[in-house]
Symmetry: C2
DNA sequence: CGGTGAACTGTACGCTGTACATTTTACCTG
DNA sequence: CAGGTAAAATGTACAGCGTACAGTTCACCG
């Protein structure tokens, strides 16, 4: 059933994913779906988290924590770009409901911790990174009226902007750590 | 009519804003609305841009361009927080359709230019800042199931995270300018 | 006074999510 | 193999949605 839902989403976007269309595809009456799913919103939540399974998680114990974060955020961004319809929903859900999202969040915290970012600072840093990744993907959602070629051109620029923003954020986070270290050394 | 739409939005969120409900409030049949508005989506677009009128625009020729950007982004963030329902839509629209949004975007470019950020770099910087502001607001959208007190507590943390991210971005943007200046001096 | 355009109405279509009571199906236990 | 039980699917139904279409009212201007 989730498979069929993903198919519909891929073929006709979020508009094509109605309970009735999904039931039709499965050769079943619409209400049968409610034996497997509480509500349409929760269905979308599941789809949302499914998508994140494709995100590439770096080894949390690797050498360079910043590179690790860059990998995970870039991969998240790329994956979300492939599911533009879902992204606005995602932000409103704080991107943190399903198990996959949770796993990614924990890897991020671990990486930050290995860089010396802990406690409230780590949560703030993680949130800024998440917002940047999801927000950038949402920004790339093609408007219905744009042509296909125009879309691709725009996407190249958007990816460059994503990359620049990601570097700024990571640099800022790392700089804060240095500051804290210096302040600690002074004591 | 836009006033009535804003009222509905304020009272019952996006769910309460249906063409039929709006018509009811105006004492009119639903179809009468289509003499004033192309489609519901375009109505929402207008509402969206209306909201941005409240954003505080600093003097683009003021002393400190970074402070100016901080003001405009913080104000945007605060304004959007008051209209949580609209924010996800906003991101998907690239927040750049209406005249108010356009005006804000130009002020941002002007401020960046005064800091020596120009060309493609300025567009990337602006985009990162916009994404951060809108994305942070979207992240703060209260989930239906949360209690009111829990929401307010969370919002305090979210605003702190917004602030931290904003500083990181600005610092990164400013640092890039210094680098470019140094590189230019070397030539 | 006649005409023109905007505003509005009534009717209608096809779609949405989902509640309720009922029936079919699959499986486990005695 | 028989009987019970729980999951799954069904038919019917409701209230709502956005909006297309054709026709009417009405204010205003030449």
């Amino acid at each position: 059933m989730l498979d069929a839902a993903h198919e519909l989403l891929g073929e006709g976007g979020l508009n094509a994913l109605s309970m009735r269309a999904l039931a039709r595809r499965l050769g079943v009456t619409p209400n049968a779906l409610y034996s497997h799913v509480d509500t349409k919103a929760s269905l979308v939540d599941e789809l949302l988290d499914d998508v994140l399974e494709a995100v590439e998680t770096p080894d949390a114990d690797g050498a360079d924590w910043q590179a690790g974060l860059r990998t995970i955020m870039t991969s998240t961004h790329a994956v979300l770009l492939g599911h533009a319809d879902l992204v606005p929903q995602y932000l409103a859900r704080q991107g943190a409901r399903g198990p996959n999202a949770q796993r990614l969040g924990e890897v991020m915290l671990a990486l930050l911790g290995r860089g010396g970012v802990t406690g409230g600072g780590a949560h703030r840093a993680r949130q800024a990174l998440i917002i940047h990744a999801i927000g950038s993907a949402a920004f790339a959602t093609p408007l219905p009226l744009d042509g296909n070629d125009a879309v691709e051109l725009r996407q190249a620029g958007l990816i460059a902007a994503f990359d620049a923003g990601l570097r700024w954020l990571l640099a800022g986070i790392a700089a804060d750590v240095s500051l804290a270290t210096l302040a600690g050394a002074e004591k």
